[in-house]
């Protein structure tokens, strides 16, 4: 049985901007601020609801930051869970269409 894919989507309840390699994100629900480093920014920018997390990690993290797939995926899942807990990202086992996001 194939492993379930994970799809991640940026929440509409945020403000964000990229400064150099970093991304600043603020939850408009509680004004909590997060700053993502370049790896986090790569995952964030790939969070379109349609691209599996495994693909984001492979294409945006492993290739650009020279890390192994397993190591990067474990870190990415931890990162995604953390942002999801704060409502910054939503996580789904199915692709999410743009209409569902906003």
């Amino acid at each position: 049985m194939a492993a379930t894919e994970t799809y991640i989507t940026q929440s509409p309840d945020i403000a964000c901007s990229t400064l150099g390699d970093d991304t600043i994100i603020m939850s408009t629900l509680d004004s909590t601020i997060f700053v993502l480093n370049s790896v986090g920014t790569a995952i964030w920018q790939g969070a379109d609801g349609a691209t599996p997390l495994s693909r984001i990690v492979q294409d945006k993290v492993c290739l650009e930051f020279d890390v192994t797939g397993d190591e990067a995926m474990a870190d990415a899942k931890e990162f995604v869970d953390e942002l999801a807990r704060h409502g910054i990202l939503s996580v789904s086992s199915q692709p999410v269409s743009p209409g569902e996001v906003l």
Partner: protein, 365 residues
């Protein structure tokens, strides 16, 4: 250093306009006695022009944007503009007198994810507030709107501007803010009119009242620390800048003109003639401003207050030289410490009118 301060510093290094203040109109339904704007709407940007400005700011890296006026809700497209800014994922603050915020508007503000609504309130007494705004019933409407915003879960703050009309009422307004459950900022700022007319400066509070405010724990927190004149100057301070105006902050007027800050009316370019990026990167005025470090200030760099002074280069500009002292900020440093600034000493220790500086003091919650 907070995350926001850290990112602001990074934006300074990268030359990114991290914050912008956009006045979408100078028209207003109030006629506040201390207002520094005229209220002519002729030549205002269209909806599409404003959206294009927001797009350009967003593409330049702007994270925080204040939509203000005049009274921004006088524009029928105000919510369309707010919605567009949020669609660009900007952190939007709305500055308003709130008299037009009814139940529908409050719900819409919440739904759009506006981060904060900042509302001017001049008194805890309706008759005093209404005398300042010259709009009968405005206090009641503003207070009701604050209640609606709170009921919708919108983060709201009251800004209380100190002036002769509401002298001595700051504590009561702070108490009212606490009862309403909103943040409170006291602001001893009477800004000269942007055309240089300083006649409204007579509305400023006395030096004595400012001194009382600046030595009050409920307004400044730790008074000993806030008023301590012994902060040592160091290389970091001398290498730094007076404020973020023109470095990470831009102001856009309703007529598409770019300035470093709403209180710094040094023309930098028109968005009807150039792109924002062209102005931000190549304006001679902005680049001259950015070349001036604290160490380059001919008087202030040698002043005993240099490490903590709230010197506003915009107010200095309005006095004729943005590299020079702002006399009102000299007055504030004097009120804090009892020590005359260098500029005051050179002028024979005259105590300047103190009420037109930029300092905003958050209430201790």
């Amino acid at each position: 250093m907070s995350l926001l301060e850290e990112m602001n510093r990074k934006a300074t290094d990268l030359g990114i306009p991290f914050s912008a203040h956009v006045d979408i109109t100078w028209r207003c339904n109030e006629r506040c006695v201390h207002c520094y704007l005229d209220h002519d709407g002729k030549g205002e940007m269209t909806t599409e022009e404003i959206k294009d400005v927001l797009r350009q700011l967003s593409e330049s890296g702007t994270f925080q944007i204040s939509i203000s006026g005049g009274e921004p809700l006088l524009r029928r497209d105000c919510f369309e503009i707010l919605e567009y800014a949020r669609a660009r994922r900007m952190n939007v603050k709305l500055k308003t007198n709130a008299v037009m915020i009814g139940p529908k508007e409050a719900a819409r503000i919440k739904q759009l994810g506006i981060e904060q609504v900042q509302i001017s309130l001049y008194s805890h007494r309706a008759e005093v507030h209404d005398a300042v705004t010259k709009l009968p019933g405005s206090w009641r409407r503003t207070i009701d709107a604050i209640g609606r915003l709170k009921a919708n879960g919108v983060k709201t703050s009251i800004t209380h501007i100190l002036m002769t009309y509401n002298s001595g009422q700051a504590k009561a307004v702070r108490q009212l803010a606490a009862e309403l459950g909103v943040d409170f900022v006291v602001d001893p700022t009477i800004t000269p009119k942007l055309n240089g007319d300083r006649s409204i400066m007579r509305l400023g509070i006395s030096s004595q009242e400012l001194e009382e405010i600046l030595h009050s724990e409920e307004f400044v927190g730790n008074v000993d620390e806030f008023c301590d004149p012994s902060s040592a100057v160091n290389e970091d301070i001398l290498e730094g800048y007076s404020c973020s105006a023109g470095h990470t902050l831009a102001y856009i007027s309703p007529f598409a003109e770019v300035f470093p800050c709403v209180q710094f009316p040094m023309p930098c370019g028109s968005l009807r003639k150039q792109s924002f990026r062209e102005i931000w990167q190549h304006s001679a005025a902005l680049n001259e401003l950015r070349s001036v470090h604290i160490r380059d200030l001919h008087t202030c760099s040698h002043c005993t207050h240099v490490a903590y002074c709230s010197r506003c280069p915009g107010l200095a500009y309005l006095e004729g030289d943005f590299r020079g002292p702002s006399s009102v900020d000299c007055g504030k440093s004097y009120a804090r410490t009892g020590i005359p600034s260098l500029a005051m000493s050179r002028a024979g220790h005259s105590i300047p009118h103190v009420s037109s500086g930029l300092v905003q003091i958050s209430g201790v919650q």
